[in-house]
């Protein structure tokens, strides 16, 4: 069985080896990897945390949580909440959700199995992190005009929202 602590260490080693700074933090009582991960164009999502939980003797879930926006005012929170379903419709991995205190998150959780082997686990993790971060950065760019009041929910929906992964 791969203990969550061992997989957490492996992920951190892997991230650091490919030049992604990260550290272990206690977030709401859970040990989480906080990674300074940038997308291909060098943009940084506000925050990216990764947690690992053992499910059974041979399976583990890895959760990637990216903060796309935080501190949105009440109007922007309501507007972003109105388009979040459209963002999720064609998203291949992960799910956007808005919470009442004005934050837009992208969450992705997936299962890895010991039979995959360590290299395949890490490859799946890194490809997932890439796809989630790309979606977060793309969504952030597409939603900026709505948050700045330069467009309306109706205009945005009419133009179509499609997030690249």
């Amino acid at each position: 069985m791969m203990e969550k602590e061992a997989l957490t260490d492996l992920i951190m080693e892997h991230l650091e080896a490919i030049g992604i700074p990260c550290e272990l933090e206690d977030i709401a009582g859970k040990e989480a990897i906080v990674a300074e991960y940038t997308g291909e164009n060098g943009e940084l999502p506000e925050d990216c945390s990764i947690t690992v939980e053992n499910l059974t003797e041979d399976s583990t879930e890895i959760n990637i949580l990216v903060t796309v926006f935080s501190g949105l005012d009440e109007v922007s929170t309501v507007n972003v909440a109105r388009v979040v379903g459209e963002l999720n419709k064609f998203l291949q991995i992960g799910s956007f959700s808005v919470i009442d205190d004005g934050a837009l998150f992208l969450n992705y959780c997936f299962v890895v199995d010991e039979e995959m082997g360590v290299n395949n686990m890490l490859a799946a993790f890194l490809a997932s992190l890439d796809a989630v971060s790309a979606a977060a950065i793309d969504a952030k760019q597409q939603l900026q005009p709505l948050i700045k009041g330069e467009t309306t929910v109706e205009q945005l929906l009419e133009e179509g929202l499609y997030v690249e992964q």
């Binding site: 499910l55 399976s59 879930e61 909440a81 109105r82 379903g85 291949q92 991995i93 959780c109 299962v111």
Partner: protein, 169 residues
């Protein structure tokens, strides 16, 4: 793993996960082969839930498996606004998978996808699928009850939101 052999690969997976499945069939669509399965519904004694599993190339050396559970269908258009609010609240609380409202088909699906290296064999894919489907079913039962009650007119959006807030306390 090879998309040209998708039918055979999905058939192998279907054989490996036959427990709890009422029916399984491989269908060909314009996007490729899809494994369609039915299992007992958690919402109605005689009812069934339909599942679809498909896979396609995601990027070099990596495939994406997509699982969809057809959760609620025939939803009247006038319920869409309420559903969007509750679905967002539920998705923010669900770990694995998410509900999506497809207005075009008047349906709510529960989705989850995962990536797997092309060297993974069907047995590994089936193990991850089974575990993922188990987690998805828990979410559909626990979170889906709120959508069921909302659609049945047994509670309002405000009541659902209050109940979800209380659950978190």
């Amino acid at each position: 793993m090879d998309k040209t052999g998708a039918k055979e690969y999905l058939a192998e997976i279907a054989n490996l996960i036959e427990d709890g499945i009422h029916e399984a069939a491989i269908d060909s669509t314009e996007d490729g082969a899809v494994l369609l399965m039915t299992a007992a519904s958690p919402f109605a004694e005689e009812g069934e839930l339909a599942y679809s599993v498909s896979f396609e190339e995601f990027k070099a050396d990596m495939y994406i498996f997509q699982i969809m559970i057809f959760t609620f269908t025939n939803i009247p258009e006038e319920r869409f606004d309420e559903l969007r609010v509750v679905i967002n609240a539920l998705n923010s609380r669900i770990n694995l998978g998410n509900f999506v409202l497809f207005e075009e088909s008047n349906a709510v699906f529960f989705n989850h996808s995962f990536l797997l290296d092309e060297t993974a064999n069907a047995a590994v894919a089936a193990r991850i699928l089974l575990r993922s489907i188990g987690l998805m079913e828990n979410a559909v039962v626990n979170a889906g009850q709120w959508l069921l009650q909302l659609l049945a007119g047994e509670c309002t959006v405000e009541e659902v939101m209050d109940a979800l807030d209380r659950e978190e306390e």
